[in-house]
Amino acid sequence: MRYAVKQLVKLSSIGLFMLGWLAGPAYADQTAYTVRSTEIKQLPFSDAATVARLDQNTSVNIVKRDGGWVRITSKAGNGWVRMLSLRSSSTATKRGDSGLQSLFNIGRSGSSGFTVATGVRGLSEEDLKNAKPDQHEFEKLQRFEVKKAKAEKFARDAKLKSQRLDYLPSNGSS
């Protein structure tokens, strides 16, 4: 019985997770175009089989992202292309808040039922210029400060491992 309940809880949490996932990240459902001639790969690896080659300035639909790769559908074929070979298609023709908001809300409103809290609004240039200090909020902020050891445990818990890597040169040559 206990096991069954546990399983049920597990299942429903998976269900919740799936719901969030199925609702899809904000990144999906965008259209993009290629900034260079690029290969569509069967898998998100540079040595995976090539499905087709896309010319520069070809329109594609983004399905999802995995690291530096994006799964796309296109007239030439479906598969994975390098993320940085793509730029989003311009949304300049859309006007008003509706364009972007509706795009973003695909991802989040469905899964979390998010509504804007009363009284919370945007942050304008004027707000910043006229800002007066809020010491109470600042003290609250300080209470969230995390110690090194706790941060290291946090990383271990998710199997995050430090990597050695130098900064990049600014001109792109190595």
Partner: protein, 278 residues
């Protein structure tokens, strides 16, 4: 600021004071000018932190924190872990989610980083969050705000603000410095400092074990954004176009980041800590 400009201004300061019937020591005026010129280099870490804390309190006056301790804690854990992979791991790094629906992130001198609820809500995973926080950290590491403040302030303010006042613990001038420092966020930083923050930010996030493409993914999401959207207005005004930022990352990243991926556990954690909550 050139030495000559500083000297002229220092002399101007001096003669101005004389006109007002005040008696000022020329050596002192000169030393103020010299200090101003070197302020960005000579401002000490405690001074940087106290000024940054004042600016952080101001930003919190513009938007309070999101009232959710659990998400605040999570963002602090991600941020603190990432900060350990910078060259200033011992700063009092702290992170806050501002309640505003605006899409933006800010860093104040000395290590306080803010991300807005509006931006956090648009992120898909922990690597994207790490990428955004790492970008902001670079502004702190490289003291970009102090540079912007010094560049824009006239000599009088610059010398007051950075050269002398903080050392002499003159609270009225510190207050002025904090006000001017807060206004920098309405104008934005130098374009090249933003590019630098992208370029170094992806490396820092990768060092912390995250997917290097977290930040580029956020930029691509922003690129698809509508310039007419009011929640993006300030961020678009104060940063180079996402497309230009992506073009530069495209040039420097190549395929040298292909080997790095984030552990799947981070996705699950982000889903529970953020996705399901806000």
């Amino acid at each position: 600021m050139s030495i000559r400009a500083l000297l002229f201004s220092a002399i101007g300061l001096l003669s101005g004071c004389q006109h007002n019937g005040m008696n000022i020591d020329f050596d002192k005026a000169l030393s103020i000018a010299q200090k101003a010129q070197q302020a960005n280099k000579t401002i000490t870490e405690p001074e940087e932190i106290s000024m940054g804390n004042g600016i952080a309190a101001n930003l919190l006056g513009a938007s309070p924190l999101l009232a959710d301790d659990s998400v605040q804690q999570y963002v602090n854990e991600v941020g603190r872990w990432v900060s350990l992979h910078t060259e200033r791991p011992d700063l009092p790094w702290k992170f806050g989610i501002l309640a505003t629906t605006d899409v933006n992130a800010f860093a104040t001198p000395g290590g306080t980083i803010f991300i807005t609820r509006g931006l956090l809500q648009k992120l898909d995973n922990e690597s994207e969050l790490a990428g955004v926080l790492a970008h902001e950290m670079v502004h702190v590491l490289r003291r970009h705000h102090l540079a912007a403040l010094q560049k824009e302030a006239n000599l009088g303010i610059a010398s007051d603000l950075l050269g002398v006042a903080l050392k002499e613990k003159n609270s009225a001038v510190l207050e002025k410095a904090i006000k001017a420092g807060t206004e920098v966020y309405a104008r934005g930083l130098d374009k090249n400092d933003e590019f630098e923050a992208d370029r170094m930010g992806i490396v820092i996030a990768t060092r912390a074990g995250y997917d290097p493409f977290g930040l580029p993914a956020v930029l691509q999401m922003l690129e698809a954004g509508n310039a007419q959207d009011s929640s993006l207005a300030l961020m678009f005004k104060t940063h180079p176009a996402p497309r230009d930022r992506l073009n530069l990352l495209d040039k420097v990243m190549g395929n040298r980041f292909d080997a790095y991926t984030a552990p799947a556990q981070t996705d699950k954690r982000f889903n529970n800590a953020v996705y399901q909550r806000i």
